[in-house]
């Protein structure tokens, strides 16, 4: 351990001790494990299905009861992706068009099958989020993960056709904007922001939950595009020779 590390540890020690004290104080009053009765959660568990016609209460909370928080989260996502893009895109030279072909046909075939499987899985996750576990957030990450497999399976050139910023950036903005738009539509119609405008649909079907479905897909598009933009930026910064350091 270097002297500097030791110094940092000493600086951190009192802060951590203070934190431990606060933590101990908090835990002393915390409910026993498995014996929590939050009025809010219990209430929502009882009323969410009859009130919102969605069988997944967690998704109902994310997109309806606490939809405004979710919009905040979405914009955190958006802002940090913008930050990454600003940091990484600034230093890049134009792509040199290098390609590293995947040698084995078997790998390529397997990869492409996996792309299809994971894409379908991601779409399923996103689509049935209001019925079974899943939703736009998880589905979006899975979709992005499936598409990035294209890169691993068939090389950089094939990836470029997916990863073009011109295509992806609008999608990301669209996802964030349409979430706000669904909320504003309710406002224009004279209801509170993010109010559920459309009918509630039938519980247990794809169309259950009314405008929650729209919000769900908006989030799915936003998350998938955001992750793809991230992957693209990182992959490009890896493959493309960067400018000499200043």
């Amino acid at each position: 351990m270097s002297s500097r590390q030791r110094l940092r540890a000493w600086i951190a020690a009192p802060v951590l001790a203070l934190f431990a004290a606060i933590l101990g104080w908090g835990f002393a009053r915390a409910p026993a494990f498995g014996d929590f009765h939050g009025a809010y959660g219990d209430l929502l568990n009882r009323i969410a299905v009859p009130q919102r016609h969605t069988s997944n209460v967690v998704t109902a909370i994310v997109f309806d009861y606490r939809g405004f928080d979710t919009m905040g989260e979405e914009f955190i996502l958006f802002a940090s992706v913008v930050g990454v893009v600003l940091l990484l895109r600034a230093v890049r030279e134009p792509a040199t068009g290098q390609d590293d072909p995947v040698a084995s046909d078997a790998i390529r075939l397997f990869g492409i099958i996996m792309v299809a499987v994971i894409l379908v899985f991601g779409l399923w996750l996103a689509a049935f989020g209001l019925v079974t576990p899943g939703g736009g957030f998880q589905g979006g990450v899975a979709i992005a993960g499936g598409i990035v497999l294209v890169f691993l399976a068939s090389g950089y050139r094939a990836w470029r056709t997916f990863g073009r910023e011109r295509l992806l950036d609008p999608f990301e903005g669209l996802g964030a904007a349409s979430y706000a738009a669904v909320g504003l539509a309710a406002l224009i119609a004279g209801a509170p922001f993010l109010h559920n405008l459309l009918g509630l649909g039938v519980a247990g079907t794809l169309r259950s939950g009314g405008s929650m479905t729209l919000l769900n897909w908006a989030v799915a598009v936003e998350v998938a595009a955001a992750n793809l933009v991230l992957y693209t930026e990182f992959l490009e910064s890896y493959l493309v020779p960067h400018l000499p350091r200043r």
């Binding site: 996750l125 576990p133 899943g134 990450v141 899975a142 991230l230 992957y231």
Partner: protein, 70 residues
């Protein structure tokens, strides 16, 4: 659980660390299922096995490669 977290935090080589953190993420996902939170388990699963490794591996290779060139 605590052991897995410890190994992630204390593994000094980032390359080994990212594999450990993948295992840690999977353990977390299992724990979340046990705690009756399938939604969170799913998101932890996709995030810790796809997103983290990808960006971290690229960041590592980027810093490694330049060091090799010198």
């Amino acid at each position: 659980m605590a052991c897995a977290a410890t190994s992630v935090a204390l593994c000094l080589d980032p390359l080994r660390q990212i594999f450990l953190s993948g295992v840690y993420g999977l353990l977390l996902a299992v724990l979340f299922v046990v705690l009756q939170a399938p939604d969170v388990a799913l998101s932890m699963l996709v995030v810790s096995t796809v997103a983290y490794p990808l960006i971290v591996l690229i960041a590592i290779s980027r810093t490694r490669r330049e060091r090799g060139e010198e």
